[in-house]
C-alpha cells in the first residue's frame, strides 16, 4: 500500500540534480496543475538527490493560478522552486541556460513535453545543444550515478528497455514510462518557497511570426483486420505492429541515404 517511489538509487551521494518544471493543464477541465511528465521527472530527482541537492526551476509567468500548480511540486517534499520570470512570448531557453550554468548540476531532468505553451518537447534538446551536455530521451529509470557517468534505462516502444551508460553532465527527458509522481501534500506545498528571480528576457522572434490555430485530430492509419474468427481478431489486436518493410542502411553514402529516405517519403505519400 505504500508508495515505493523513494527507493534511493545507489551511489548518488552529493550529485547535484536540477529538474525543470512547468505549469500543466488538466486534459479534461483545463485547470492548471503540475505537469504529468515534469512531476515524474521530479519524482526521479527525489530518488536521486536527498535534501538540498535537488533544485527546481520554472521559467514563465507566476500568476496566482500558476502558483497553485507550482506549489503542487513543492508538495512532493521540495523546499523551493526558482521561478525565472519570463513573460508570455519569451524564449525561455536562454534564461534556463543561464540558470543551469550558474547552478552547475550534473543532471538535468525534464518532462518529455509540457502541457501548455508550445509543448514541443524541444527545450531539453535546445538546452543540451547549447550546454554541450549529453541528452537521453524517454528515460524510464536511473539505476546508478557516480561522479562522471550514470546508468539509466531508456524506454522503448512496447515496454522494452535499453540500458545506457551516460556521460555526465546530462540532460534527460522523462515520459510516461517512468514511475508516477508521488502525492502532493498540502503542508509542504504551503511551506515551500517560490523564489522569483529576475532574468533577462529574450523575445521569441520565431514564435511571433507564427499563426496558431486549435489542433485538429491527426489522421491515423487504420489497421484493417481481416479476421474471421475471434481468435484471429484477438491475435490481431494483441500482435506487435510489424515493421516488415523496414530497411537498415549501414555504410552507405550520405547521397544514397538521403535518396532512400526520399523514396520512402514518396511511397508513404508524405511528399508528393
Amino acid at each position: 500500500m505504500q508508495r515505493d517511489g523513494n527507493r534511493n538509487v545507489t551511489g548518488q551521494e552529493r550529485v547535484k540534480v536540477a529538474a525543470l518544471v512547468s505549469v500543466g493543464r488538466h486534459p479534461v477541465t483545463g485547470r492548471p496543475r503540475r505537469a504529468e511528465y515534469d512531476a515524474r521527472a521530479v519524482e526521479i530527482g527525489l530518488s536521486l538527490a536527498t535534501g538540498g541537492n535537488l533544485h527546481l526551476a520554472h521559467a514563465g509567468e507566476c500568476s496566482p493560478e500558476s502558483e497553485a500548480a507550482l506549489r503542487a511540486y513543492l508538495g512532493m517534499g521540495i523546499a523551493g522552486v526558482d521561478v525565472l520570470q519570463q513573460p508570455a512570448g519569451a524564449d525561455i531557453v536562454p534564461a534556463l541556460e543561464a540558470w543551469l550554468r550558474e547552478l552547475g548540476p550534473r543532471l538535468v531532468l525534464c518532462g518529455a513535453r509540457g502541457e501548455t505553451g508550445e509543448a514541443s518537447g524541444l527545450v531539453p534538446f535546445l538546452l543540451a545543444e547549447r550546454l554541450g551536455w549529453s541528452l537521453v530521451c524517454g528515460l524510464a529509470a536511473v539505476e546508478s550515478v557516480d561522479g562522471d557517468s550514470m546508468i539509466v534505462l531508456q524506454a522503448l516502444p512496447r515496454g522494452q528497455r535499453r540500458r545506457l551508460k551516460v556521460r555526465l553532465p546530462a540532460v534527460v527527458t522523462v515520459d510516461a514510462a517512468a514511475q508516477p509522481a508521488r502525492q502532493s501534500a498540502f503542508g509542504p506545498a504551503r511551506r515551500g518557497g517560490l523564489q522569483r528571480l529576475d532574468t533577462p528576457v529574450t523575445p521569441d522572434g520565431d514564435a511571433q511570426s507564427w499563426t496558431t490555430a486549435p489542433a485538429r485530430k491527426r489522421p491515423k492509419r487504420l489497421k484493417i483486420v481481416k479476421a474471421t474468427s475471434a481468435r484471429d481478431r484477438f491475435k490481431a489486436a494483441a500482435a506487435k505492429a510489424e515493421g516488415g518493410g523496414g530497411q537498415v542502411l549501414t555504410g552507405v553514402s550520405a547521397q544514397a541515404g538521403a535518396e532512400a529516405i526520399l523514396k520512402l517519403l514518396r511511397e508513404e505519400g508524405v511528399l508528393r
Partner: protein, 656 residues
C-alpha cells in the same frame, strides 16, 4: 492498633493519589488547548454520568446493575471510609452506612468476578483480571475494619494478628482503588472518565443531542498543525478521553474492520494513544491485537511520530498507517462506547497528518484526491457531464429558475450508472408528488465528504466554500438528497463555514410526502424485504424511522437484521475505505450480505449509493439491492383512487 494504622493508610493513600492525579493531569496537558467550560462541565458531569453514560452501559442490563452496585457502593464506601477511618469521626450512623456500602460493593464485585470467570473475548485481561479480587479485598476489608467502629465487635477483637491481616487486606484494596485510579490501573477509568465526561469535546452529545460533524482544521493559520502527527498534537481533552477507556471492547465487537480481519481494533487504538501519551510500548496490552499485528512491537511517546514516514519497511512507531486507513468511519465504536470516546475524530485527525504532511494516502487515494482538486469529482469525470444522466428528463436548473421549494442534491452518484437509476426513480417520485424542485446541474460539486475523511481538509474546505457560494445564490426551502454522505456533510459540516441548510434524506422526504397523501401508491407484492441502515443516515444523523415508514407506505413489512438501527453494520463503503482498500481476511460487504441472507430476504432496501455499490458488489446468489426510491417509484400509480388508499394508510399509521 487499627485506630492508628487506618488513618495513616487512608490519608496517606489519598495524598499519593493526589500526586498521581497531578501527574496524570500533566500528561493530558501535553495536548493542544481546547476551550471548555470548566465549571459548567464539572456541574454537568453527574448528570452526564448518571444519565447519558448509564444509558449506554444499560444496553447490557446485567452489567449495568453490576456496575451500579460496584461503582455506587465504592463511591459511598470511599467517602465514608475517609470520614470514618481517615478522620476518625465517631458516628455509629456513618459506620453502619459504611458497612452497608461495602456490602453493596461486595455484591457487585461478586458479579464482576462471575463475568471474569470466563470473560468474552472483547474484554481485556491482564490487570483487569485482578480487579474483582481487589474489589473483594476493599469491600471485605472495609467491612471488617468497620465492625468495631459500628460497635458490633469490641475494638480489641481478634488481637494483633487479625489487625495485621486486616490492615494488609485494606491496604491492597486501597492501593488498587485509590492509587490505581490516578497512577494507572483498571480504576483509572473512574478518575479520567469523570473528568472526560466533564470536559468532553462534544458536549452537545449529552442530554440526547447529537454531534457527529468533524471539527474543521484552521488552515488560515500556517502555525496550526495539520492534523495529528504526534500524540501531543491531540487536544488535551482528547488525550483525557483516551485515558477514560475501560477496555470493555464493545467497540471491538462492533467494528466492521476488526471483524473483517483488517488491522484495526478501536480498543487497541485508544490504548496505543494512551501508550503514546505516557510513553512506552504496547507490550502490557492484554486485549485482542490488531488482526495480523503482534502486540509488543509498537511504542512511542508524546513527542515522537505516531506513524513513521515512508511506510512500514523502515521500523515501527506507535501505529501503522494501514491501521488508520482500515476505518470506515462508520461510528459503530463511538455509538457503542460507554465512555463516549471519539475514535473517529482521532482517526481522521491522524489521517489528516498522513495526507496533508506525509502525502501518503494509500492505493487510489492519491488519484481520487487529485481528481477532486482538478475535476471536482472523485472519479475524474468531465464536470460538464454531471447532468448527462438526466439528458432526457428536462430537469429544472437552479441557474434558470433562481428559486425552488426543493433543491435536489444529486451527489457524485450522478456519474455512476447504478445510482443514476436511483436518481431517476427519485425524480419520478418528485414529479408524481408535484414537488417544486430544481437541481444545480453542472454547478454542483462533490460535497467534499470523501476528501475530508481521507484527511484532505484543504480540498474539503475548498469544495465546501465553492458549494456554499453556489448555494448562496439561490433560494430554496430545503435540500433533498439520496446520498447520506452529502446529506451529513451539508447538514452537519458546512455549518462551521457559515453555511447552514435544512437538509433531508430522500427517505425522510418521501415518507413526509406519503404522510401528506401526495403520492398515489400501489401495494408491494414482492417477497421479503430487509433494510440496511446507512451509517451516515443512522448513527450520524439518527434517522432510523423515516426509511422504514417509507417502506411501510408501500406495504412492505421490513424484516430487520440482527444488527440494525443504531447497531447496523457498515457496508464497508464509508470513510474512503474502498479507495484505501486495506486488505483483510474477508470483505465487509460479504459479512453484511451474510446478515442480510440470514433474514431470508429477497430484496434488501438501501438508502445510500455507497451501500448500493458495496452490496451489489457481493457475488450472487444474493438478494436484489434496491434503493428506497426505486421501491417506491415502482409502486407509483396514476389513479387518484390509489391516493385515497395512501391517505388511508397514513391514517392507520397515525392511529397506530
Amino acid at each position: 492498633m487499627l485506630d492508628v494504622v487506618l488513618p495513616v493508610l487512608v490519608l496517606g493513600a489519598l495524598a499519593l493519589a493526589l500526586l498521581g492525579a497531578l501527574r496524570r493531569i500533566g500528561l493530558w496537558r501535553q495536548g493542544r488547548p481546547s476551550p471548555v467550560s470548566v465549571l459548567g462541565g464539572l456541574a454537568a458531569m453527574p448528570r452526564r454520568y448518571l444519565v447519558d453514560l448509564h444509558d449506554v452501559v444499560a444496553r447490557d442490563k446485567v452489567f449495568a446493575n453490576t456496575h451500579v452496585a460496584t461503582g455506587g457502593g465504592f463511591v459511598a464506601a470511599a467517602v465514608l471510609l475517609i470520614l470514618v477511618h481517615g478522620f476518625q469521626l465517631e458516628s455509629r450512623v456513618l459506620s453502619w452506612a459504611l458497612i452497608a456500602a461495602s456490602v453493596v460493593m461486595f455484591a457487585g464485585a461478586l458479579r464482576v468476578a462471575a463475568r471474569r470467570r470466563n470473560p468474552p473475548v472483547r474484554l481485556s485481561r491482564g490487570p483487569w483480571m485482578r480487579l474483582p479480587k481487589s474489589l473483594f479485598a476493599f469491600a471485605s476489608g472495609v467491612f471488617l475494619v468497620t465492625l468495631p467502629t459500628a460497635g458490633v465487635v469490641p475494638a480489641s477483637f481478634g488481637g494483633w494478628a487479625l489487625a495485621g491481616v486486616l490492615t494488609l487486606v485494606v491496604a491492597w484494596g486501597i492501593a488498587e482503588m485509590f492509587l490505581g485510579m490516578t497512577w494507572g490501573g483498571p480504576m483509572k477509568h473512574a478518575f479520567a472518565g469523570a473528568l472526560h465526561l466533564a470536559f468532553h469535546r462534544r458536549p452537545e452529545r449529552f442530554g440526547g443531542g447529537r454531534s457527529t460533524g468533524l471539527k474543521p482544521l484552521d488552515l488560515g493559520n500556517p502555525e496550526a498543525p495539520l492534523g495529528v502527527g504526534k500524540p501531543a498534537d491531540f487536544t488535551w481533552n482528547q488525550l483525557l478521553g483516551f485515558d477514560a477507556c475501560v477496555q470493555c471492547g464493545r467497540c471491538e465487537a462492533m467494528c466492521p474492520a476488526f471483524a473483517a480481519g483488517q488491522p484495526l481494533n478501536p480498543k487497541k487504538l485508544i490504548q496505543d494513544m494512551v501508550v503514546g501519551m505516557a510513553g512506552g510500548t504496547d507490550a502490557a496490552y492484554a486485549g485482542s491485537p490488531y488482526p495480523g499485528k503482534p502486540v509488543g512491537e509498537h511504542g512511542g511517546d508524546a513527542h515522537s511520530a505516531i506513524v513513521l514516514r515512508g511506510g512500514h519497511e523502515g521500523g515501527r512507531a506507535l501505529v501503522d498507517a494501514e491501521t488508520l486507513w482500515s476505518c470506515t468511519t462508520c461510528r459503530a465504536c463511538v455509538e457503542e462506547c460507554p465512555m463516549m470516546i471519539e475514535h473517529v475524530d482521532a482517526i481522521v485527525d491522524m489521517r489528516r497528518h498522513l495526507t496533508m504532511e506525509h502525502g501518503n494516502t494509500p492505493n487510489k487515494g492519491r488519484e481520487v484526491l487529485e481528481n477532486l482538486a482538478t475535476t471536482d469529482n472523485p472519479g475524474g469525470f468531465d464536470p460538464a457531464s454531471r447532468m448527462n444522466w438526466a439528458a432526457d428528463l428536462d430537469l429544472p436548473l437552479m441557474s434558470a429558475r433562481g428559486s425552488a421549494d426543493v433543491l435536489l442534491w444529486m451527489g457524485d452518484g450522478a456519474f455512476d450508472m447504478r445510482n443514476q437509476r436511483t436518481l431517476r426513480a427519485l425524480v419520478k417520485i418528485l414529479r408524481a408528488a408535484k414537488v417544486d424542485f430544481a437541481v444545480l446541474g453542472n454547478e454542483e460539486l462533490d460535497s467534499g465528504d470523501v476528501a475530508r475523511r481521507l484527511g484532505d481538509e484543504a480540498t474539503f474546505q475548498a469544495l465546501a466554500a465553492r458549494n456554499a457560494a453556489t448555494l448562496a445564490k439561490y433560494r430554496f426551502r430545503e435540500i433533498v438528497t439520496c446520498d447520506p454522505h452529502s446529506f451529513h456533510v451539508l447538514k452537519n459540516e458546512y455549518g462551521a463555514f457559515g453555511a447552514s441548510y435544512t437538509v433531508s434524506h430522500h427517505s425522510t422526504f418521501i415518507s413526509s410526502l406519503m404522510e401528506k397523501g401526495r403520492l398515489a401508491l400501489g401495494e408491494w407484492t414482492g417477497g421479503r424485504v430487509t433494510y440496511h441502515d446507512p451509517c451516515y443516515l443512522g448513527r450520524y444523523n439518527g434517522e432510523y424511522e423515516a426509511p422504514r415508514k417509507a417502506l411501510k407506505g408501500i406495504g412492505i413489512k421490513v424484516v430487520d437484521m440482527e444488527r440494525s438501527g443504531f447497531r447496523s453494520r457498515c457496508c464497508g463503503g464509508g470513510g474512503g475505505a474502498p479507495i484505501t482498500d486495506i486488505p483483510g481476511k474477508r470483505r465487509i460487504p460479504d459479512m453484511r450480505m451474510e446478515e442480510i441472507n440470514a433474514t431470508k430476504a429477497d430484496v434488501v432496501a438501501v438508502g445510500c449509493p455507497q451501500c448500493t455499490a458495496m452490496l451489489e458488489g457481493v457475488v450472487g446468489p444474493r438478494p436484489e439491492v434496491l434503493d428506497i426510491a426505486e421501491l417506491v417509484a415502482a409502486q407509483l400509480v396514476a389513479a387518484p383512487a390509489a391516493a385515497q388508499r395512501a391517505k388511508k394508510d397514513v391514517a392507520e399509521e397515525v392511529a397506530a
